[in-house]
């Protein structure tokens, strides 16, 4: 038997003249898949397409064998935690999730039990009976996540799901994602925090300007990242001297001296060896004020991965 898959066939979506995504073809197997990309790259559009909130202008989408245009069947197996944190004014956290569950056809006691379980999982039991309008942004994010998981879906689509979670709940949620993935479910999430993508995902889809720029197992992408030189800004008194010492190392590809002659921009192929060298230079008596990584954002990674096309 073939495993259930999320399939995008030549999917394009335009908002008037604005490109959403262009000719996307994807096959996502069960497990944790991260959509990573800079802001405005098309991650949310892709997730909205998966859940039928928007329809493709071209191409077709199949979510574990169900068309994205069939919300009745699709949403039975799908949970979507959107980025929109607007909450219905009438609802408390508890009533919001319970009402959602009633629409699935659960009887009220069962719906309430599931709602409690989801709220407890996300650490919201105490605030369950408060109006959602009074929740903080982080709490609304968590309620959205609780609603997405309450009916134990086979396919979870989560837009920036770990934003606004405290470290403990974040760790527990990641464990939960892994648990679901191990059960053969799809967990598709978006993130622009590289470490997060690296820590959670089995697979990653890199997206920029509405197009897939890389796709595959996370270790392949990690290798790609490691081959790329890292940028550091070094602030020090004797910049020329420090530059000369660093240039003798083979992992340094470029050094630029700042105009005030008290700073350097260093491009190093090996981050760890660079750290060791800087430490050694400091111990030798050269005063180093600070060392700041200049390219840890996902935007910088994309600049590297897609170059001028970004």
């Amino acid at each position: 038997m073939t495993e259930p898959t999320v399939i995008f066939e030549e999917v394009s979506k335009f908002y008037g003249e604005v490109l959403g995504v262009n000719r996307i073809t994807l096959r996502i197997p069960p497990g944790i898949t991260s959509l990573a990309g800079p802001n405005g790259s098309g991650k949310t559009t892709l997730m909205n397409l998966m859940t039928g909130l928007i329809h493709p202008d071209h191409g077709s989408i199949s979510m574990r064998g169900i068309s994205s245009r069939d919300p009745e069947r699709l949403m039975h197996i799908t949970g979507y935690a959107t980025q929109y944190d607007a909450a219905p004014r009438w609802a408390t956290g508890f009533s919001f999730i319970t009402t959602g569950l009633l629409l699935f056809g659960y009887r009220r006691p069962e719906a309430e039990e599931k709602a409690w379980k989801a709220l407890e999982t996300l650490g919201l039991a105490e605030a369950a009976h408060r109006k959602m309008a009074s929740y903080s942004k982080g709490m609304r994010q968590r309620v959205g996540l609780a609603q997405a998981i309450a009916h134990e879906p086979e396919l979870l689509v989560l837009d920036e799901p770990l934003n606004g979670l405290d470290p403990l709940v974040r760790a527990e949620t990641i464990v939960l994602f892994r648990f679901w993935a191990a059960q053969g479910k799809h967990v598709i999430l978006s993130s622009h925090v590289l470490q997060e993508v690296d820590a959670i995902s089995d697979r990653v889809i890199l997206i920029a300007n509405g197009m897939i720029v890389a796709e595959g197992k996370i270790r392949d992408v990690r290798e790609e990242i490691q081959e790329r030189p890292s940028k550091f800004i070094v602030r020090c008194r004797e910049a020329s001297r420090v530059a000369a010492l660093l240039f003798s190392e083979d992992f340094i590809t470029e050094i630029r001296l700042n105009e005030d002659r008290q700073g350097l921009l260093v491009l190093a192929k090996d981050r760890e060896r660079f750290s060791r060298s800087i430490r050694r230079i400091a111990l030798d008596g050269h005063e180093i004020d600070s060392v700041i990584p200049a390219d840890e954002s996902v935007d910088a990674l994309y600049e590297y991965l897609i170059g001028e096309g970004k």
């Binding site: 329809h55 919300p71 009745e72 219905p88 959602g100 629409l103």
Partner: protein, 373 residues
Amino acid sequence: MNNRLRLKQAWTIARIELRRAFISKRAFWVYGLALLPAIIFFGHSVAVKFRRERLSAKGLVRPAVMDSIRPGEAVEAVLERLGKPPRDFQWERYRRIRPKGEAAGITAHEIISHRRLTYFDGQREAILNFTDGKLISSQIRRLLSFEEDRRIFAGVFQYFYLRLAVFFGCLGIFMNLFRGEMLDKTLHFWLLAPARREVLLAGKYGAGLIASAVIFAGGALLCFGVLLWTHNPAEVQAYWRSSGMGHVFWYAAAAVLGCIGYGSIFLAAGLLLRNPVIPAAVLLAWEGINNFLPEILQKLSVLYYLQSLCPVPAPVDKSMPAILQLLLAPAAPASRAGAILGLLSVTAFVLWLACLAVRRMQISTVLRRRNLC
């Protein structure tokens, strides 16, 4: 997924919407529109009750004597025959006169005395206007005429209640079922429900319909109740036994069918258009000019069917300008069965269009960024 579950889903959606339709801030002006005629009729009833009591307390005249009053009679003769009136009001007015001949150029004044006597025979009020001691005009009318009040009710119901109150009430309730969610940015909550879009539409429309029907049919019945309250119980009972029950039923039915028709149109407009003012203005104008249109186009109006259901034709004031009379006069009515079927057909057609629109509905992230959707 079976139809029973779909029905349950629609009812769950409707229950949430009902709470909002009845309790939200927006609902209060809808209540105001629905209750305004009842409040006016209540005020009128109380005023008439007090007036009757005040006039009765100061003595009644016999009806025959009241009818014997003729124009030109002297005030003394009337006072002698009818006695001291419950109300007697006198005033004088100065009139400037310009003498001719020798006195030309000198302005003089002439005093004209006026007097108004009011008599009451227990049912009718006679207002007699005297000038310089002679009866100039008289007006004898029933202080409280059941028939006249029913005609007034018919006018208020058709000119105000159906054309404006139900129209704008439905605009407020139905237009916001989807547009309100878009403005609150909560529409995705509904679109992510495991329900067919048609079920979502049915739930929302059902909620709007229940709310508007309860508010406007309730408002019409309350107004009718207030109308009956002041009148002679025997007269009311006789009316009730003859045609009263039927009249009440058809007024309530017209209000409910108004909600069905206007509701479907505003629901569809809320799905298809961004600005609710434009469709409302267009529909109001369409309903207004309906009488000028060819017969076939008249049938594409909600008001045409509603007026056909009203048990008493709305009175038209003959002193009004001809253009206004034409605008207000109802078109040749359809049969009641035809009116109901016609209205339900128009509604079914509009709801079908709404279904197409809701199926194609999408969250627009571009619009969301602009806080529009």
